[in-house]
Symmetry: D2
C-alpha cells in the first residue's frame, strides 16, 4: 500500500478524495490536514463518515496541521497556499498531485496576471506536468508534481481537443459552461446560499474566469500539433451557476474551417471516436449528454455535432466537477504517477437518478 | 370591464393568465375552456385557486369546450389547434392574443418547414402582428390578432435588438439559452420527470429548436433598419434545460463590427440604455442578472458587455418564461389592443428569494 | 398615505415587506434601515429592485442607521436588538409591528429560559398583542405594539385552534413541520449552503425550537376557552429543513377525545369550516394541500382529517413562511392597526408552478 | 460467479441493481427483462450505461421478455405482476429476491385489503422470508424467496425495533416520513412532474399508505418478543413528498412506558447501540442525521432521543430509498441467500455533497 496525505481535507475535493480512496486497493490515507480543524477526527468534521466502518478510510484519523511523511500527497488548498505546501512536500520527496491552480500555467507572468500575485515558485513550473492523462500520460508517469486541471478546463479541453489537433475549426471559440454549486467549494457566500441559488441561473466572472488562461494554454498547444502552425485562439469562456450540486456541462461553439469541405456530424463523430478510442474516461456519445449521467463517476461525456446550416461545430461536454473535474482525475493522475493501472479505484457507475 | 376568454386554461400559460388577470382592473375572465376538463370548475383543476375568494377570478367558473362570446381571447392551445381556434374567434369579432407559434412566422413555407404541417390559414399571417411591444407597439394597437412571441425568442430578440439595429455586430450570432422546466408545459415526459431533471443539466433540440426561425425572422428584420442593407444572419440557438421551474437566461455572443472602433462596455450600455429608455418592461442592468430577479414579474433584464480581448459583444438577457415569456407579455399586448396603459396589471415585484 | 419604516430592511422579511408594500395603496415606505448597509440605496443591496420603476417603492431610497420618524414601523431585527428598537420607536409614538420573538411570550421568565437573556422590557409584554388576527383581531385594533407570530407558530396554531377551542382532542400533541431555507434568513451558514441543503432533508433543533413556547402559550390559552378548564398540553414540535426556498408544511397529530363519539372527517371539517368561515386568509381545503399552493400569497391552507383506525386527528397546515408566516401577516396586522380593511394589499394569487 | 436475472430492469430499482452489481465480485448479470423494451440493449434504455465499459455490467446486454435461466433473480415488477413472475422463477429453481410487496405480508387477507385483489399465491406466504437481515438473518440463509421490505418500512422498522423489543414505549406510534421523488418510480405522473414537485412539499396517501400493514406486522411481531405479551399497536404513518430525488427521513414519535423510570437519551442510545452493535448497515448516530449522509450507500442512520419534557421517544431514521430501501437491501439479502459475506459489494461511501 502507498501512503497518502490529503492536505486540506475539509474541502469538498478533500472529502471526495476520501470517498474515492475508500475503495482504492493501493492507496492508504495515512495523514489528513486542515488548519481549521486541527486535532479533530475525520468523522467530527464529516459526520457522514461515522458509518464507514469497513472501508480503506479510518473515520477516526486525527486531522493535523501539517501532513505527515507519506509517498503521495493530494493538495486541496487554495492557490498560493497550495504552492507553499507543494514545495515543502517535494522537499520531503513526496510525490504531489496539486488540485489548485498554482502549477497549471507554464508562464509565471500569465499566472501573475490572473491570480494577482507573484508566482511563489516559478522554477517548478517547468517540471510540473499538466495532469490531463488524455494529453500528457507519459509525462505524468515520470513526474513528481502533477498540476490537476480545473473542472471547467477539463470539460472544455476534452471537448475541443480532437477538433483542434486536426485543424478542423477556426480560431474563434466560445465556451458556455454551466456548473453546479459544489464547484464553488465549501466556503460560504451569498451566491451559494441556498435561498439565493435555488431556482436561479446566472452567469458570473464575466470579466474573465481564472480557468480561461488554462484553457487557452492547452488549446493553443493542441492547435500547434501536426500540420498546422502555431496560432493564437480567440476564446470566450462564460461560466454559469445553475441550481444543482454537482456537474458541469460545457457547450462549445466554433466555426468549421471554411477551406475544407464541411464535414458531416457522422464524420466529426468518427474523428472524435478515433481520438478517444483508448481512453477509459472519455466517451463520445450519440445523443446530447446529461450531467446526471456522470454523477459520482470519472467519465467525461462528449457529443460533437455539425450545424450544417451555420457551418459550425457544436460540442457538448459534461462531467462531475468533483470527480473527473477534481478528485477522480487527481487519483487517475496518482495511479499513473505510481505506475498502477490508470483506472484503479475509478470504475464506478454514476448514481442515477 | 372587458370580457375575456382563456382557451385551454389548463396549461401553465392559462393558469398564469388567471394569476395575473386576478389583479387586472379592466379585464374580466368570463369564459375558460379545456377539452380535457369540460364541466369542471376552475378550482377542481387547480385546487390552489380555491382560496382565491376576493379577486377578479371566480374559482367556480365552469370550464367549457368552446369559448363563449367575449371581447378578447387568449389562446393557449398547441400549434395547429391554436390556428383553428383563432379563426373561429376572429369570425366572432373577438380580438385574439395567440400564445402559440401559429401566427409568429410571416412566411407559411418557413412555418411548414419547422412545424411539419401546412399552415391552416396563411392569409392571416399578413394581418397578424408579432406581439413584441418593444418593436411593434403601434401595429399592435390597431390589430385584431397578435402572435405572442415565444419565451426564448423574447429573451434573445430583446437582448440583441439594440446591437442589430445599430449595426454594431457581425452576422454570426450564438444564443446559448437556459430554461426552467415550466417552459416544457404541463404535459408529462421523462425529460421533465422530477427524478430525471432534478440535479441535471442538458442541451436539447440540437437539430434546431422551433423558436429559431422566429428569432431569425425578427433579428434579420432588425438588421435591415437604418443605414445597413438587408443581410442574412447566421444564428445558432441552443436551448438547455436546468433544474428550476421558472426562468430563462439567454447568453448571446457576437463579434463586434471590425470596421468600426471597438466600443467600450460603457458605450454599448449607453446604446442599450437609450434604445430601451422608455420601455417599462426592459431594463438594462449594471451587473450580470439572475433569472430569480424576474420571478413572477414581467421584466426582461439585459446586461450587455464588451469582451475587449476577443472583440466580442456578450449580452445576457433574462426573464420569467411564463410572464414576459408568455402570459405577462400577452396581457401587455392585450392592454395595447384595448388602448389601456400598457403596464396595467403588470407592475408587480418579483418574488425573491 | 401612512408613512412606514422598515427596520433592518436587508433581511428576507424586510425585502418581502418591500415586495408586498409595493402594491399597497395606503402605506408608503419612507424610511429603511440596516446597520450593514448605511448610506447605500435600496437597489444597491437588492439589485432586483432596480427594475421596479413604477411601484410604491423607490429603489433609490437611502438606507439609514436609525429609522426616521414615521407613523408605522416594521421591525425585522433579531431578538433582543428588536426590543431595543421597539422601545425607541414607541417613545416616538410610532406604531410597531415587531417581526422578532421579543414580545410574543407573555411571561418574561419563559422568554429568558428560551432566549437565554433577561427580557429587556418586561412591562411592555402586557400591552403587546400577539399578532394573530384570527385570534386577537379586536385587541390588535387598539394596540400600539403587535408581536408578529413566528412562521412555524402560525402554521401550527391555525392548524390546531379549532380542535382545541372545541375540546375535540387530548392534550398530547405532535407537530412535525417542514420548512424551506428562507426561514433561516439571509445569514450564511453551512446548513443553508446550497451544496449541503440541496437534495437533503433533516430534522433540527431537537432539543427544543424557540417557536415551541409560543405555540404552547397560544394553544394552552385556546384550550381554556369554553367549557373546558385550564389544562396544560404536552406538545412535541420537531422542525425539518427541506430543499426548497419557501413554504412550511406542519403535520399535526393528536388523539381525539375518547369520552366523546369519534367524529368523522366530514364533521371535523365542518367544525373547521365554521371556525374559519369569515377568515380571508385561512382556508379549509378538501384535499391534502401543497406548500406551493401558497407561494407568495398570504393564505394558510388547512386540511383536517380523522384517522378512524387510530382515533387520531391529523391536521395538515401550510403557508408561505415569508408571507403569512412573516411579512404578509405583519401587513395584515398593520392594516388592522390603522383601521383599514385587513386584506388591503394582500389579495394576490400564489405563483404556480 | 452466480448468474443473475433482473426482471423489469427499466425501473429505477432495476437500474440501481445494475449500478451496485457492477461492483459485485460474485454476481454476474446474465439476463435482463422489460416488456416495454424487448430487443433493445441496456444502453439504449439507459444511455448513461454506454460509458460503462470496464465493469461487471455489459451495456450491450439485450433486454428480453422473460428471464433466462439463472441462479438468482431480482424481481422489480409492480405487485401482482411480481407474484406471477416469482412463481415461474421458483419453479425453475431460481432463488428470488422480490422487490415488490407481494410476499411481504404474512396474511393473505391483509394483502387483499390493502392491494385490492386476491393474493395470487397465498401458500408461498409461509415460505417467503421478510428480507430484513437485521431481523431474519438466519431465516434468509435457507430461503428460496425473500420479500424485500418497502423503503418506508425499512426506515420505520429499523428506527423502532430496539424500542419495541425492549418494551420501552407505549403502543401509540406516529411515523412522519419524508421521501424524495425516486420512490415514486419512473412512471410519469403530475405529482412527480418537475414543475409541480420542485419547490413543493406535501403529504400524501392520507387514507393509508400500503407500507403501513407491513410496518404494523413487523412492529407488532417485535413487540411480542421477550417479556411482553402480544399486543396490537396503534400506528399512524404519514408519508410526505419533498423536492429531492433520493432519500427517506422518518421521524418516529412514541410515548415512553410510564410504568418505568423515563430513561435518558444516553440510556436509550446505549440500548440502540447494543441492539445494532454487529450490524454493518445500521448506525446509531450522535446527532440528527441527514438523508444526504446516505446518498448511494446502504446505510440506515438512526438517531434516538428522549424528550424529557413530554416523556416521549423521538427516533429519526434515514436511508437512501433506492439502496437500503430497495436495491442495496436486495443485494444484502442475496448475499445472505448465497452464503457469501453480507456486505459484499455494498461497502461504498455516500456521495457527498
Amino acid at each position: 500500500m502507498t501512503s497518502v496525505s490529503i492536505v486540506n481535507v475539509t474541502s469538498y475535493t478533500g472529502l471526495e478524495l476520501l470517498r474515492i480512496l475508500s475503495q482504492h486497493p493501493q492507496f492508504e490515507v495515512s495523514s489528513v490536514t486542515a488548519r481549521s480543524a486541527v486535532g479533530k477526527r475525520l468523522f467530527e468534521v464529516f459526520p457522514l463518515l461515522v458509518a464507514m466502518k469497513h472501508t480503506n478510510i479510518d473515520p477516526h484519523l486525527i486531522i493535523t496541521e501539517e501532513p505527515e511523511q507519506s509517498e503521495l500527497a493530494f493538495v486541496c488548498l487554495p492557490h498560493a497556499a497550495a504552492a507553499e505546501s507543494v514545495l515543502s512536500l517535494l522537499e520531503r520527496s513526496t510525490k504531489v498531485v496539486d488540485l489548485s491552480a498554482d502549477f497549471r500555467l507554464r508562464d509565471a507572468a500569465v499566472y501573475e496576471e490572473w491570480y494577482k500575485h507573484v508566482h511563489p515558485s516559478p522554477s517548478l513550473l517547468e517540471t510540473a506536468v499538466y495532469g490531463l492523462c488524455e494529453r500528457y500520460r507519459s509525462d505524468i508517469e515520470g513526474a513528481s508534481l502533477v498540476a490537476n486541471p480545473g473542472c471547467y478546463a477539463t470539460a472544455a479541453i476534452l471537448g475541443l481537443l480532437p477538433a483542434l489537433v486536426t485543424g478542423s475549426i477556426q480560431p474563434d471559440i466560445i465556451i458556455d459552461a454551466k456548473s453546479g454549486s459544489s464547484g464553488a467549494g465549501r466556503s460560504l457566500s451569498l451566491s451559494t446560499h441556498h435561498a439565493e441559488l435555488n431556482e436561479d441561473t446566472s452567469a458570473y466572472s464575466l470579466a474573465g474566469h481564472r480557468h480561461l488562461p488554462e484553457i487557452t494554454q492547452e488549446l493553443e498547444k493542441a492547435a500547434q500539433i501536426g500540420e498546422h502552425p502555431a496560432r493564437s485562439l480567440r476564446i470566450t469562456f462564460i461560466p454559469h451557476l445553475v441550481p444543482m450540486t454537482r456537474g458541469i456541462l460545457a457547450t462549445c461553439y466554433a466555426n468549421l474551417d471554411e477551406e475544407r469541405r464541411i464535414p458531416t456530424t457522422q464524420e466529426i463523430r468518427s474523428l472524435y471516436d478515433q481520438y478517444y478510442a483508448n481512453e477509459p474516461f472519455v466517451h463520445v456519445v450519440e445523443q446530447s449528454p446529461h450531467t446526471k449521467w456522470t454523477l459520482g463517476s470519472n467519465q467525461c461525456l462528449i457529443y460533437p455535432m455539425v450545424d450544417t446550416r451555420t457551418r459550425r461545430l457544436i460540442v457538448i461536454s459534461c462531467l462531475d466537477n468533483l470527480v473527473k473535474g477534481a478528485a477522480g482525475q487527481a487519483i487517475q493522475n496518482a495511479n499513473r504517477l505510481f505506475g498502477i493501472p490508470e483506472t484503479t479505484g475509478l470504475l464506478v457507475h454514476p448514481l442515477y437518478p
